[in-house]
């Protein structure tokens, strides 16, 4: 049946009408394109009056297809779809032509703009007539949530959801939750101790009836889709029986093997072979590190077992696997530190008294290897002068182009701590100071008052090669003072490198496992950089904290809470709608050639062995259409983007090329039975 199309050309004030002859376009459409019944131009289509105009016409002129030529569909597609459904028309019978962003705003020549607008509108009109009725399918949402990563972001999200009364599984790779925040000493700008504000939250997690904590565990595999994920989790063997362990710590005390702890103590402290990363660790159960354990090495020792009062040690323990059904997933997998060895001219690893920021956090942390004494590598001498080097691996094309966002403030914090604890004078070498948040600038002022020195310039090198007697035995920081316009050599006792935040070494694998995408740098990509910062392209998978990009604790906590809130909404609604823009395979045409099978990163295409054909799981399909254009049999159709619709749009877009191609339409098309 012939479709009845209504065309609405928006003036958008003068935004469009200023460049495009909208009246002309509207009348042209009605006079020249088949199917157009109504064609109007109107001041502001997005206004309620504009929408009513459409609704009225649908009723009175019984239109069954709508074309709105206005701004970008990314702005008002929803608006006009709603208008259609209000008038009882399937929302997918509406098509927009972006004649503002893509015509009036980018074109100077009026007639050219008008011609281009005609093309886009003609494309939309041709296309919309072939649109098919689509209705989003609904699936139930399992009220359980999986939170991956037990840093402050994950902790916050877990607690928010748990407090709302929904069950949460919190999976942490390390033996204890707490993440990087647990390693910090103080937090800027308030200087309250990180542990003091973090550990209560950690024990909340431990105690909460709605939270199941799985530390020393990793997600192996994720299947399913929004509302109905199925995850497989590997619980790594602790060799300590959690049921029996009281966390008394005797095993740790008795363990004869002590090794450098390069995870929690960042390599400047020691731990035993059976260990708990830090005293307030949650859960309290220790872990035996088979790498360094004497028993696992030589088959002798078992000291821990001998002394354990509750026989909780179990050398026979194996990894176990747990399978869960969850409705939503929050990724809060955090970050790694930039490896300062990559900048040899800064002497890290060669010059004893060059530390990284994380090392320094441990250094001045009361629970750290030096009981919070800021000392040189010899473990006793207090530094009299300290230089802080900013942007180590950040804002550096050789390593990471981005700004790590927190280092400036952390540097100020360090400056304060050093001066407070040692009275040493502190010099910060920065490119730009970026104290951009509530009370940050004030903190910067405070440090300037406290007498911290600031040199604006990127440090060229750090060396122990003294050129003058006073440089002897010092670490010399060579930097161009860009404000004074001279090269400076700062002989200091200690240097702190503000290393960049980097995506987790395995961020890309994680992204692949959960079916989300990464930026070039390796940060997880949010659905929209401004308007949807915690959701991802994959429904039901959310991201929170630094895994999405460098940020400080307040932002991280905010994101954790935001992700939790998004999920609460979905759970309380109980079901989610799934975009009907998906691919489907015609079983009659599919021959099971299996070209499409490994093209889908969301594993939405299953091969049915017995039928010998492939099938699309609509719930998993994201509608990208890659399989559609790959299917050699033309067996796959992409809803709302099927070939006929695209051909029609092409045909319309090239309306003015028509004269040169009378014969094309006939080409390869069924001819019907003339000539009888």
């Amino acid at each position: 049946m012939a479709e009845r199309v209504g065309v609405y050309v928006c003036h958008c004030g003068s935004n469009i009408a200023g460049t495009v002859d909208v009246e002309n376009v509207a009348t042209w459409a009605k006079d020249n394109i088949d199917g157009v019944v109504v064609s109007r131009d109107y001041q502001f289509m997005c206004s309620s009056l504009g929408q009513e105009l459409i609704e009225e016409d649908i009723k009175n002129e019984n239109l069954n297809r709508i074309v709105v030529a206005a701004c970008s569909p990314h702005l008002h597609e929803k608006t006009f779809r709603r208008a259609c459904s209000n008038a009882g028309l399937n929302p997918y019978f509406m098509q927009m032509a972006s004649i503002r962003e893509q015509v009036s705003w980018v074109t100077t020549d009026k007639s050219a703009a008008t011609q281009k607008a005609k093309a886009l509108i003609s494309g939309a009109i041709h296309r919309v007539q072939l649109h098919e009725e689509l209705t989003p399918s609904k699936v139930n949402v399992t009220p359980t949530t999986l939170v991956v990563g037990g840093g402050i972001a994950g902790i916050q999200a877990a607690i928010e959801l748990a407090d709302a009364g929904y069950p949460v599984y919190l999976v942490e790779r390390e033996p204890s939750i707490g993440g990087h925040m647990a390693q910090f000493d103080k937090t800027f700008p308030t200087l309250d101790c990180a542990a003091c504000i973090l550990t209560p939250k950690m024990s909340d997690v431990d105690a909460h009836e709605n939270i199941t904590l799985m530390s020393y565990s990793e997600v192996e595999e994720v299947t399913g889709f929004v509302g109905n994920f199925h995850v497989k989790i590997r619980k790594k063997a602790r060799y300590v029986n959690e049921a029996d362990c009281t966390g008394c710590g005797i095993c740790i005390e008795k363990c004869p093997k002590s090794i450098v702890d390069d995870v929690f103590e960042t390599g400047i402290g020691y731990r035993k072979a059976v260990y708990r990363p830090f005293p307030q660790a949650v859960p309290k159960y220790p872990v035996i590190d088979t790498e360094s354990c004497i028993y696992f090495d030589t088959g002798k020792c078992k000291a821990c077992e001998k002394f354990c009062p509750t026989d909780a040690i179990d050398f026979e323990q194996k990894d176990t696997f747990i399978e869960l059904d969850v409705g939503n997933i929050i990724l809060a997998t955090g970050y790694d530190m930039f490896d300062a060895f990559k900048i040899p001219q800064y002497g890290y690893g060669r010059l004893p008294n060059v530390y990284t920021n994380l090392e320094f956090e441990r250094l001045c942390n009361a629970a750290g290897p030096t009981e919070g004494n800021i000392v040189l590598r010899d473990g006793v001498t207090k530094p009299e002068s300290v230089a802080i080097v900013h942007c180590v691996g950040s804002r550096d094309k050789n390593h990471n182009p981005y700004c790590s966002a927190v280092c400036c403030m952390a540097a100020l914090k360090f400056g304060h701590l050093v001066m407070e604890k040692t009275g040493a004078d502190v010099t910060s070498c920065y490119i730009d100071m970026r104290p951009t948040f509530k009370n940050y600038e004030e903190f910067y002022d405070r440090l300037m008052d406290e007498g911290m020195n600031f040199i604006r310039g990127k440090v060229a090198e750090i060396t122990d090669n003294a050129l003058t007697p006073e440089e002897e035995g010092k670490v010399i920081v060579q930097v161009e003072d860009t404000l004074a316009g001279k090269i400076r050599r700062l002989p200091v006792d200690m240097v702190i490198l503000m290393s960049a935040m980097e995506p987790k070494a395995d961020a890309r694998d994680t992204a692949l496992k959960f079916g989300i995408s990464c930026s070039m740098d390796g940060w997880f990509t949010e659905r929209h950089p401004k308007l949807d910062p915690v959701a991802t392209m994959t429904d039901g998978i959310f991201i929170a904290g630094v895994c999405q990009g460098p940020k400080d604790i307040p932002d991280t906590v905010a994101q954790g809470a935001a992700a939790a809130a998004r999920i609460q909404g979905m759970i309380s609604r109980g079901e989610v709608e799934i975009e009907p823009i998906v691919a489907s395979i015609d079983p009659g045409t599919c021959s099971g050639c299996r070209i499409c099978n490994n093209l889908c990163p969301f594993n939405a295409i299953d091969y049915l062995e017995e039928e010998g054909i492939s099938e699309v799981n609509a719930a998993l399909c994201k509608g990208c259409g890659t399989c559609v254009s790959a299917c050699p049999a033309g067996a796959i159709t992409g809803a709302h983007f099927n070939n006929q619709q695209i051909y029609a749009e092409l045909d319309g877009l090239l309306f003015d090329a028509a004269e040169t191609r009378e014969s094309v339409e006939a080409a390869g098309q069924p001819a019907g039975v003339q000539g009888r």
């Binding site: 021959s591 050639c593 299996r594 890659t626 790959a630 067996a635 390869g668 039975v673 000539g675 009888r676």
Partner: protein, 337 residues
């Protein structure tokens, strides 16, 4: 007894294989004779164009037309038979999508003449004579058809009711088509009388997920007899080719070359196959991808469009003579048929 239905068979630009194929249906040919009165079939019985012209319009019930349209005579005959037939069937790959003769669309009249009348080793043509549309002889003017730059499929010249694919169509498929016509249970006009799915459906080889690191030409490797040829890097068009042949080639370790053409609704066989093959190339590095493609497919047009060039969306390569019309190319005599 009631009058038998009238059947015509004609060949235009084709090798004649389709004609043989019709006879290849063995004794069933007698059934055909029972059912039809054959009014015109130059290949097997005498007949004059005039006889056809004398028929009333639509008097022929079914015309099986094989071969593409390469000359003005063929175009005339196509139009004539269209006029006289109730049901016109594009029979075989040539009429359907151009087939091998269509590959000449990668060239043009001038080049084709140059090769066939001058350059081929077997040609002796010292005077360099080329076919003329008109030749004066004592007994008057002789006419030869005009040879077009571009070979057209039947439906690019006249409306076609049905298509029977294949080079040539398999005997059974031919019989299926004929019986469909006899029993009057034909599909919707304009459709292809054939299977819905592709050759893989009937291919005995085992298939798994596909990843191609290198395309092999058939002589470069001895393929494993049980595994999908494409997975072994041999360009097999079976994935994109309409079933109906019973996977003859793959079952004898030779890749499908696509003679049955595309499945329903596919407008360009070559592009369809192109997309499928490219999608499973196992590399994300542009240089490597280029290497894989250029080493593995030196002649893309010939590989992807062996049968479907003339019937495809582009139909031919860029024409150096810039689409010069016959009128420009040769006076304006029309009566060379």
């Amino acid at each position: 007894m009631t009058e038998k239905a009238k059947l015509a068979l004609y060949w235009a630009a084709s090798c004649g294989g389709c004609e043989i194929a019709v006879l290849g249906i063995d004794d069933k040919i007698l059934k055909v004779d029972e059912a039809f009165e054959i009014v015109f079939w130059p290949c097997v019985m005498d007949g004059k164009v005039r006889d056809v012209e004398n028929l009333a319009d639509g008097e022929i019930d079914v015309c099986l037309f094989n071969g593409g349209i390469r000359t003005s005579e063929q175009e005339y005959m196509a139009k004539l038979l269209r006029k006289k037939s109730k049901v016109l069937v594009a029979f075989g790959s040539c009429a359907h999508e151009g087939c091998i003769p269509g590959l000449a669309n990668l060239s043009n009249r001038k080049e084709i003449f140059q090769i066939s009348y001058h350059d081929t080793p077997s040609t002796v043509n010292p005077e360099g004579i080329e076919p003329q549309t008109e030749t004066e002889t004592p007994n008057g003017t002789l006419h030869l058809p005009f040879f077009y730059d571009t070979l057209k499929t039947l439906d690019q010249t006249v409306p076609v009711d049905y298509y029977v694919p294949g080079c040539p169509p398999e005997a059974d498929r031919i019989w299926d088509a004929i019986s469909a016509i006899l029993e009057q249970n034909l599909p919707a006009p304009g459709s292809v009388i054939g299977a819905k799915s592709t050759v893989c459906d009937t291919c005995p080889r085992t298939r798994s997920e596909k990843k191609i690191k290198k395309f092999y030409r058939t002589w470069e490797i001895i393929p494993d007899p049980d595994i999908c040829l494409l997975e072994q890097g041999i360009i097999c068009a079976g994935v994109a080719t309409r079933a109906g042949c019973g996977a003859l080639c793959p079952s004898v370790n030779s890749p499908c070359i696509g003679c049955y053409g595309p499945t329903d609704g596919v407008e360009d066989f070559g592009a369809r196959l192109l997309s499928a093959l490219a999608s499973v190339i196992d590399s994300d590095d542009p240089e490597e991808i280029q290497r894989i493609i250029e080493d593995g497919m030196p002649d893309p047009a010939g590989t992807l469009y062996r049968f479907g060039l003339a019937g495809g969306l582009l139909r031919r390569n860029i024409l150096q003579t810039n689409g010069q019309k016959k009128s420009q190319a040769m006076g304006s005599t029309v009566s060379e048929v």
